[in-house]
Symmetry: C2
Subunit: 341 residues, 2 copies
DNA sequence: GTATAGAGAGTAAACGTTTACTCTCTATAT
DNA sequence: ATATAGAGAGTAAACGTTTACTCTCTATAC
């Protein structure tokens, strides 16, 4: 009766194979200290019993769980999704599992997750595109596990990261609009307070303008939250309050798409009446119509990179260097060259 | 020196508070068997030391990890993403963590994941929209953990699930096209061999046709894989090989969007020249232009439901009943009523 | 023929909790 | 004054592994 509900342990294997648990462990790990005969016997018994090692017990002794915690501001955004995909891939290849956490951009919730991850003894942590508060840093320090950032920075560069050069990318996006003859260019920027992703993109935009002799005007900038709805309301604000503009740079594809929706609803044809360039190159951005001209970030690759950096750190590497990955402007259907006047 | 790298355990707390580890444990779990004085002392010391319980050790003794494994055919699809979001939410509320696995529709890979999840002693497993092979069922049985299915079925209904009524939903979608005056209706169906999601939708389509006196023709059906690319190639095939049609029912939004792309490229205007209805109601479906008319599935809710069912089972509930959630046709911009001839 | 090295394998402690049992008080009932 | 109940707390085993040590052979070197 008991056999029916008992899941076999290493001891069961040991007993049935007439060896000690230690020997079974050695065989299973292919260490030394057993004869060929024993090895065969152990393997056969393990197979027979359907034995699987218990990673929890293993984790307890060698203080490794082969598990990594990943925190996203919103799991369901196309953005997080693409990054997650790359991470998952790399994790699987390296024998790690991923616990996903959706922080919903909420500081308290993030702290709660950090504690859970600590208790679960994850081997490392990745933060994706999220502002890193000091609280987090303190908690992370107490956890004594390596951390890697994707698409964000910690103060004083204290944590390794992989990201693109936001300012340069924004500069390029804006310049592209200018080269297409636009001079009245609005921007939907990221969260106002966000100095890490929001500000550099705004700076790139401003710099491009000024380098081409176009005065920057705060009145042509609206702030969103990188998400669809934020893009929509920013666009509405721009349309009603800003001086007229012929082109728009949105600091995220989601916001660009939100803005496009508002434009369509208002009878503004894209790109005929308004040119738009986004930032991210989500998978959906090429699915929509017209397909979005945007700054491509290799998101899956960035996820993969971050995970590989993290694994190196977990493996004992003392330091990894930050990685600036290459962005790229991809021309699709939402920017129209303006006829010279 | 050692203090510097040592992470405090329950024993450290015990020693510093002059009590036994058992007492600390009792205090922390708010059981009985300690005075108020002791409680205060223990709590204070735990706080001072920055003590956090080790869930791995805990898991070892009470054979619970508060962790759930979730398997998706492709994490980066909008589909999985929305479901995951609902699950993550519910998991967090109930003190569970989620390990995500991307099976890439690969049987071997799935088995590998199942084994990892078994070793990691997850408390339960959720399969999302994936064909359940017999191999899996065997492995799952050996794991002795509860399983719940989302958007799929196992043979003989042996595993509880939450899904919509695919056949009825497809019937409704097709009927809607018919009621809008269409009689030449093509379909992009799911994977040919897939009897679980693919076939019912095909059946619903066929049934609706026949109930309205329209002969079903195999030549107007093309098969995709539920993903974007599959939709594109199916559409190309339909356009070149099928008899002309004025409307199209796609068994997934992704395929519908892929088909729309092909249509646009071919100069076919939607909905003027061709009406399209999809299936899923992904978040992106309302972001694109024109916004997709489709069958809404409450994906996040389904994810949440599945997770709650699973937790009930983990909690010892003997049985949960399957849940058929309500779908809904949402009218947006891709279906045009056909003028009566 | 003895010393010795190394192969093969077992013993037991350790990882950090939880929990069943046990023990010692103090307070109350008789 | 004694029996007894219950509060407060400790002891130790258990969970399933890994691993440092130890032990016993057999084979080889001399």
């Amino acid at each position: 009766m008991d056999q029916d509900t008992h899941v076999p342990t290493i001891k069961d294997v040991a007993k049935k194979a007439n060896v000690s648990a230690a020997t079974v462990s050695r065989v299973l790990h292919n260490l030394s200290g057993f004869s060929d005969r024993t090895k065969r016997k152990v393997l056969q018994v393990a197979e027979e019993l359907g034995y699987r090692p218990n990673a929890i017990a293993r984790g307890l002794v060698n203080k490794r769980t082969q598990t990594i915690g990943v925190l996203f501001p919103n799991v369901s955004g196309g953005f997080s999704t693409d990054i997650l995909h790359g991470m998952e891939e790399a994790a699987h290849e390296n024998g790690f599992s991923i616990i996903v956490c959706n922080t919903a951009r909420d500081g308290e919730r993030t702290m709660k997750y950090l504690q859970v991850l600590r208790e679960k003894q994850v081997d490392g942590i990745i933060f994706a595109s999220q502002v890193i508060k000091d609280d987090y840093v303190t908690e992370l320090a107490a956890m004594r596990v390596p951390v890697v950032l994707v698409n964000t920075l910690a103060s004083k560069d204290s944590i390794p990261y992989v990201k693109v050069d936001d300012q340069q990318a924004a500069y390029q996006a804006t310049t592209y609009l200018i080269q297409n003859g636009h001079r009245e260019i609005a921007m939907i920027a990221g969260t106002l307070g966000d100095r890490l992703t929001g500000l550099p993109r705004l700076k790139g935009y401003r710099q491009a303008l000024e380098d081409h002799g176009i005065p920057f005007s705060e009145s042509r900038v609206a702030y969103g939250d990188f998400q669809l709805e934020g893009g929509r309301s920013a666009m509405e604000k721009l349309l009603s309050e800003a001086p007229p503009f012929t082109a728009l740079f949105a600091a995220s594809d989601e916001m660009a798409i939100g803005a496009m929706g508002v434009a369509f609803e208002g009878g503004i044809k894209i790109p005929r009446d308004l040119s738009i360039i986004g930032y991210d190159d989500l998978i959906v951005s090429r699915m929509i119509y017209p397909p979005l001209t945007t700054i491509h970030q290799p998101l899956a690759l960035m996820g993969r990179s971050a995970l590989e950096m993290l694994i190196a750190l977990i493996g004992g590497k003392q330091e990894v260097s930050n990685r600036i990955v290459q962005h790229r402007l991809v021309e699709r259907g939402t920017v129209r060259p303006l006829a010279r006047d």
